[in-house]
Amino acid sequence: MKRIQKFSMLTVLASVAAFALQPAAPVQAEEGPTVKKVKERGEVLCGVHQGRYGFATADSEGRYKGLDVDYCRAVAAAVLGDSEKVKYIPVSSVTRFPALQSGEIDMLSRTTTVTLTRDSSLGLNFGPPTFYTGTGFMVRKAAGVEKVEDMGGATVCVVPGSTTEKNIAALFRSKNMQYTPVVIENQKEMVGAYFSGRCDVMAMDQAGLPGHRQFDAKTPDDHIILEGVFSKEPLAIGVRQGDDQWYDIIKWVTYATFNAEEMGVSKENVDEMKNANNPDIKRMLGTSGDLGKKLGLDNDWAYRVVKQVGNYKEIYDNNFGANSPLKLERGLNNLWINGGLMYGFPMK
């Protein structure tokens, strides 16, 4: 009897232990930079939005799509050689920074605005902006609002911990108007609250609004998006401070997408371009030089980024532009040579 008791205790303990240990990541004895962890794990842990059209949405089978998602894939393609080796971790506006700080994610690609505070006291580093937008507002057509000044006294739905939350506080204050914020952490709940009529106005990055109008409204035509943007929101990938190599990779993967567009390298022609006559293209795609080695990667990293994910134009068009249901103009997100702000630094 005693032996059985002991045995049973052992099995219970063993199963508990098995349960606790199985999902835990491999224990590392020594300190290793993020790349090492990512390679050991075989996947990039990428924090993405819970659901914003164009940036990150999951379909019913859990496949993610969007501009932010494409940057997770680009980094995985560069580091691991396969753009599918990403584990997407949806984070809310509130949980995103703790998730990065605590190591739950390796990179934060989630419509995150670069600000001084976040860069300094939150301990983040930001790559080059992958998208420029600003705070926008959606209102019901029936409310008769045409400009910001008509919104006095409105109830505004917004997610907490966002720059948008602070922007509307400053905007309404500067216009001397009252408003009531309704702050709901869960993005979908917040959008639902606006469409069910809890709020008069929904405030978020303007580029996110058309998608919500198109897919979440019962009748999209009942809602309008106010003209103009009301703040500067350069959205970029965030990483933890204290790992410069990882930060460099994020930075140059982003530049590679810009440069590829500028040099006319796309998914289709990247194989031919590898042997093009242009030394800049050859160096970027790794036919010559050793840029990859300098980053601690192999020489094909940028080739894989373009081959598997595409250049910036392709990424944009698939998620916001001509090939997407949203059909948004490039605007600020055009290359600098076309009047936009996208400016890839030289890859030399």
């Binding site: 349960f19 224990v27 590392q28 639902g192 469409f195």
Partner: protein, 383 residues
């Protein structure tokens, strides 16, 4: 708990009646049916003017509401349709929302083609659970192999990665199976901690006592949410670099410790109820502290504390729903996510009623069961 439907004035039950299932009518003179009904009504509905008034008011409300509810919930209800338009045309409940969305609600983000694995896991879990509840099977020789096999099957089904099953990470687990994993994990991990804390609080050693009291009182003083925040946001920062724990495990440990602090107080109540003589007798037999505790004191204390223990186990089941806040996809989180679908959003009442019914079923069965166990354990005992 007493049988609330029985009138207070009913004669006290004979000893052992609950077990022999004697019909109650044997103790009362058998009056004719009609008079019995009338007398029952007079005693229980119209005993005094105030009582009569109350009966009339409540009765009127029932007559007004119950048919309306039945009409909404059953007669006019749409039971199945893939087309939300059909529901929109109807005045009744749209149970079709449950029919249409039951898979994401019950199984969350788990890969769609693999849902059958969750059905197997749930069936094995509920089966083993039911067997465990039956008194006849209360033997180590039965329960230990049963649960060893059950845990093996359930883990294989949930994780996969062997026998050609695709591997599914814990972050993709969801719905009812996740609720079940969280609940069992909380109770299994938490109970030993609870016993240690309760013993610690009763200890004569001041430092051990102080530590237990501090842990119990400070954790009981804060909401579960903040403990989950610590488990999710702060705990990883406190680990040395490179050491990581799965979020699900962290959350489970947090919930287990929270559960243990409440359970410890219940067990302490049981410990306090043990007469001094029991300790003295055990000591005079030369038993050591642990022998005395495990063989003499704890079995009795746990029996005395059983109602409270069961209450907190039921609370642990309900508390699993708190993971909604930190984004684990239990059945409630999955349902709120499903309810964001603009086509089906307006029938949230039906969807939430369904989830409520699931929780209600398990909690109610557990609470009724705990009353039954109390009766079993009190057989032939004086306290």
């Amino acid at each position: 708990m007493t049988d609330t439907t029985a009138p207070i004035a009913a004669p006290p039950r004979a000893e052992g009646q609950a077990d022999t299932d004697q019909p109650r009518s044997r103790q009362q003179p058998p009056p004719t049916e009609k008079i019995a009904v009338l007398r029952w009504m007079k005693e229980n509905l119209f005993a005094s003017p105030g009582n009569t008034l109350l009966t009339i008011i409540l009765g009127a409300a029932l007559i007004y509401w119950v048919p309306a509810f039945i009409k909404w919930g059953f007669i006019d209800a749409i039971w199945y349709t893939p087309d939300p338009e059909v529901c929109r045309q109807s005045d009744g409940a749209c149970w079709a929302v449950v029919a249409e969305k039951h898979r994401p609600m019950l199984f969350g983000l788990y890969p769609y083609e693999e849902h059958w694995r969750l059905v197997v896991a749930l069936a094995v879990y509920l089966g083993s659970f039911t067997i465990t509840l039956i008194r006849r099977f209360w033997h180590w020789q039965i329960l230990v192999p049963l649960w060893t096999v059950a845990i093996a099957v359930i883990s294989t089904m949930l994780w996969g990665g062997v026998f050609g099953l695709t591997f599914v990470e814990t972050s993709q687990w969801g719905g009812l199976p996740l609720t079940m994993v969280l609940f069992s994990g909380t109770v299994v991990l938490g109970f030993p901690i609870a016993i240690l804390l309760a013993l610690g609080r009763r200890s004569h050693l001041p430092l051990i006592k102080a530590t237990s009291v501090t842990i119990i009182e400070s954790l009981r003083g804060v909401p579960l949410i903040t403990i989950l925040f610590v488990a999710v946001n702060v705990f990883p920062l406190a680990l040395p670099d490179g050491l990581e724990f799965d979020k699900l495990v962290r959350v489970m440990v947090g919930m287990a410790i929270f559960f243990a602090c409440y359970q410890a107080e219940v067990i302490r109540g049981g410990l306090q109820a043990i007469p001094r003589g029991q300790y003295e007798a055990a000591e005079s037999l030369g038993l050591s502290y642990w022998q005395m505790t495990t063989r003499i004191i704890l079995p009795q204390a746990l029996r005395i504390a059983l109602p409270g223990i069961m209450n907190h186990i039921i609370a642990a089941l309900k508390n699993t729903s708190f993971v909604l806040i930190i984004g684990l996809f239990d059945i409630l989180t999955a349902t709120t996510a499903v309810m964001q679908d603009p086509l089906w959003r307006r029938w949230f009442v039906e969807a939430y009623l369904f989830v409520a019914a699931v929780y209600f079923f398990f909690c109610y069965v557990l609470s009724k069961y705990s009353q039954q166990v109390e009766r079993w354990l009190s057989e032939g005992r004086r306290f």
